[in-house]
């Protein structure tokens, strides 16, 4: 596996693979876990060249969020990415992606970026779409791989790609969970043992409403109440949002009639966790 720190190095390394190769790309903020590795493995099976980026993107963190504290471990990430099948690791500095004076942003307007994570993190998705747009322009992948855990992020990136006619395919991969059901996240390392134990309620409550839906309950208000009450049984859980929405548009619905996303964001101490399940 080759490592590139600059755009110029990256392009030299890509060119060395020769022409007409398909490129699969997995953008990450590092501190890789099984979820990331599943994306890299999927990219490996689909493409000639697999590129993984590690870039903790400052523009998607708000003031007071954990940009500086975000966990980093390059040596471990490098070993894991290579073992999962990456050909090239791209680890740019902030100044490489955003040279001095950069003020251009890519903005998906409308309700899909305002609700859910966009409500408590109002500039988050603007930072995400901007950095993903930049990375796509630099790498020019045929396919890019994202995890379903960040369901809203995936829908917004798909919308950006469609609206701006970017020539690539977004591939979404399933949520990877710990053996006890906790969704994998780089932020799980922040949790105390007690918080981690109580955080299991997210997956459990989502599975509970999936069960009710399969038994015939389609009223969103009912399912949201049950989901909310389930999470609130844990004293350390502070709900940021509980949403049940159309999977493709993220629009509000009253009854489940098509593919539907049930998604939650919950704080345990200083750590904000997200999880979701698709009802269909």
């Amino acid at each position: 596996m080759k490592t590139a720190k600059t755009i110029e190095e990256l392009q030299d390394v890509i060119n060395a693979f020769g022409q007409n190769k398909t490129i699969g790309f997995t953008p990450t903020m590092g501190y890789l876990h099984e979820g990331h590795l599943s994306l890299i493995q999927k990219a490996r099976t689909d493409n000639d060249i697999v590129i993984v980026s590690i870039f903790v993107n400052p523009t998607q963190f708000g003031p007071g969020e954990d940009f500086k504290a975000y966990p980093r471990n390059f040596d471990r990430d490098s070993r894991l990415a290579e073992a999962a099948g990456a050909d090239i690791l791209f680890v740019p500095d902030v100044s490489e992606i955003y040279p001095e004076g950069s003020t251009t942003f890519v903005l998906v307007e409308g309700v899909s970026t305002k609700k859910m994570c966009g409500s408590s993190r109002p500039t988050h998705f603007k930072g995400v779409t901007t950095v993903v747009n930049i990375l796509f322009n630099i790498i020019k992948p045929d396919k890019a791989y994202f995890g379903q855990k960040d369901a809203q992020q995936v829908e917004i990136i798909k919308k950006m790609v469609r609206d701006l006619h970017m020539q690539l395919t977004i591939v979404t991969c399933p949520i990877i969970r710990e053996a006890d059901g906790l969704a994998m996240s780089s932020r799980n390392v922040y949790l105390s043992p007690e918080e981690r134990n109580q955080a299991l309620i997210l997956n459990k409550s989502l599975k509970d409403i999936q069960g009710l839906y399969r038994l015939g309950e389609t009223k969103v208000e009912t399912l949201k109440t049950i989901l909310r009450n389930g999470i609130n049984t844990m004293p350390l859980a502070v709900i940021d949002y509980v949403e049940i929405l159309d999977l493709n548009t993220l629009d509000a619905i009253e009854k489940i009639e098509a593919a539907t996303l049930a998604a939650v964001a919950v704080r345990f101490g200083n750590t904000r966790l997200i999880d979701n399940i698709i009802l269909e």
Copy 2:
């Protein structure tokens, strides 16, 4: 010359030229004049494939502006583009560029998009950068050609390309003028004979301050006053702005010490004209 109305048709036509061809691209809103043709001719000398788009972009017009009235003449444009050396004319419908539900925008923030034309047309450059970004994504040119007449537009597009790491070169071509000095513009057809005659003051006043600068006058306030007074000698002229700015940053300056842009926007009746000159 081939004409493509859809993105799919366009890509088939491009692919028919074979691989590894350089693409030169001239985006226009049609109603071609000698200025546009000079861009197409330059693209012809530089590239294997020359693509010209004609797309009157609704998102760069504000409410009450001339989107519907903007002059259109496809048959004439088609003949002129072919004669100037275009291989492919891309004439998409609005729904091809902005399918229903499109809400993604590319935004160059900061002072460069707020002053000058951005002051009287506050959403104009957001529409320009969005459509140019989309056209670049569809066409993937090696070089794109813009006229120096839209000096602020060129600087903002260059900034977008740099900030988002888009992989192409922006080529700027000189202003083309009528024999009497009026800068070519599709909007010149709106002018009455009297307005057209008085509009010659733009080029004349810009040349006057260029002369003074060459004689040693470098104080911006002095030059702006002379420029403003010159234009105001014409009773039909209503000044929108008179600016003398750093050419590359569009920042305000007090003295001319590096490449400098003197730019004006002036209304004659309902027609708003722009013109500029580089002092260096």
